[in-house]
Amino acid sequence: MASTAKFWREQESRYNLEGTRCSNCGSFFFPPRSLCPKCRRKGTIVPYKFKGTGEVVTYTTVYQAPRNNNRQTPYTLAIIELDEGTRMLSEVICEPAQISTGMRVRAVFRKLGEEGEKGIIYYGTKFVPA
């Protein structure tokens, strides 16, 4: 069940908010895409490191989560619109009452969770109020 490869494969993206950009139409992609939905085969996909700033589009505080999620509840999740214009889902580290729609946030590097009994720890981006 536990597989390091599946985390290692996305390591660069998760650690450094490294996504992609289509140099044909200028669209940004995080999570990264290797095919631009707009330009399809005419697009040229290049790596792009996101600035890591954005704002909260919507959010929730999770009070009940499956154990294998390996998170202490409550924790707060949000869909964040990065300043480059693309959206991602991530955890926002703050008090539940602190978050609001439109709030500015910035990315930080944190432990995302661990998998299996052996506890393979994987890291990635979370956000904090900016």
Binding site: V57, T58, T61, Y63, Q64, Y75, I79, E91, Y122, G124
Partner: protein, 387 residues
């Protein structure tokens, strides 16, 4: 393309069926449908079985052949296909079954949906639900299925002034309907206060805003419409069968409060049937969460975007209201055995159109719609039926 009719339906009771296995419930539903159709098993030419995750719930793949085998059909060597689109697996199995008859390839087929969820701990089942969304870019960051619907609810509340009470009303209505449904998991009424005082799962959704883990199976027998009267006096005709997809992740959607997969599927369905929403007498929609029913009745164009909450509050979706929604009790009160749900919805509509729904009967039901989604709306399947 030729017209297709449903000539038999069957369902197990939904709930924690400790004493029954995956294959037991699949066969039970299938035999009931075949018996209801009054045909012999040897007349079935193909089987489509909707199932999301037997591999992880009961460690069994290859369930198409398994179901056909235990239904006693192995000797006929019929094509038996397992169909998967997360919680829309059942609706999709029916869609493919309809296409197979409409095309003329087969004359008589069976579509089933089955899920056995309670052989694993509820924790494991809850985690499996997250495999219906983007495991890599949603679930790994902590997203659970209810947490994503909660984020839809948040925007819906902000933009359209939908309230927690209106969402709770969906649960209250559906539980009231299920009192009269012998197949439902929960058959007791609940109050707004019960829902609103239940613990939060993901703010603003409470435990009682969420559908439950259950075991269950349902099946329908289909044949070419011109032959339907040979088997039954009350065939149910398939007027439309449509499927659409959308981004797997909620964050990539054009609008977080609209499921474009539903919008596109229902647009095709209304065109196919030459109908508009005002013609539909009742619908079974995918209320995996209470906010999901509110979004669904808007996307299906029964109500304008943003008016699903107030319409629910005012009783327009109750039996006896303008457009009864989920007279069976929906996923909320029937329970939601993932792959079974989409077919269970069709069983309900067929019973309603035949006038066999007992105390939950919608008066003068002539046209019914089913709406089944996968994940947060990455897949939607819509069917329209007439009597």
């Amino acid at each position: 393309m030729r017209e297709v009719a449903i000539i038999g339906v069957g369902t197990t009771k939904f709930g924690e069926l400790w004493e029954k296995s995956f294959r037991d419930i699949a066969v039970e539903a299938g035999l009931k449908a075949i018996e209801d159709a009054g045909i012999g098993g040897e007349e079935i030419e193909a089987l489509y079985g909707g199932n999301m995750s037997a591999g992880r719930f009961v460690e069994q793949e290859h369930v198409g052949a398994l179901i056909a085998d235990y239904a006693g059909l192995a000797g006929f060597h019929i094509p038996a296909t397992r169909v998967e689109a997360a919680c829309a697996s059942g609706g999709l199995a029916l869609h493919l079954a309809v296409l197979s008859v409409a095309s003329g390839w087969y004359n008589t087929v069976i579509a089933a949906g089955v899920e056995k969820m309670t052989d694993v701990e509820s924790d494991v089942a809850d985690d499996l639900l997250a495999s219906s969304v983007d495991r890599k870019w949603e679930a790994i960051y902590g997203a659970t299925l209810p947490s994503l619907f909660a984020q839809m609810a948040r925007i819906h509340m902000g933009r359209y002034h939908t309230t927690s009470e209106q969402m709770a009303k969906v649960a209250v209505k559906n539980h009231a309907n299920a009192v009269h449904n012998p197949y439902a998991q929960y058959r007791s009424k609940m109050t707004l206060e019960n829902v609103l005082s239940s613990p939060l799962v993901a703010d603003p959704l409470h435990v009682l805003d969420c559908s439950s883990i259950a075991d269950g199976a349902a099946a329908v027998v289909l044949c070419a419409a011109e032959k339907a009267r040979k088997y039954t006096d009350s065939p149910v005709y398939v007027k439309a069968s449509a499927q659409a997809s959308d981004t797997i992740s909620l964050h990539d959607r054009r609008d977080i409060t609209t499921m474009d997969a539903t919008v596109f599927a229902v647009k095709k369905a209304y065109q196919m049937a030459s109908l508009d929403p005002s013609h539909i007498d009742l619908a079974e929609v995918h209320d995996s969460y209470t906010i999901a029913e509110i979004i669904a009745i808007e996307d299906l164009r029964f109500f304008k975007k943003g008016e699903g909450g107030i319409a629910t509050e005012e009783g327009e979706t109750e039996i006896g209201g303008r457009i009864p929604i989920n007279p069976s009790g929906g996923l909320k009160a029937c329970g939601h055995p993932l792959g079974a749900t989409g077919v269970r919805q069709v069983v309900e509509i067929a019973q309603q159109l035949r006038g066999e729904a007992g105390k939950r009967q919608v008066p003068n039901a002539e046209l019914g719609l089913t709406h089944n989604i996968g994940g947060t709306g990455g897949t939607a399947v819509v069917h329209i039926f007439s009597r």
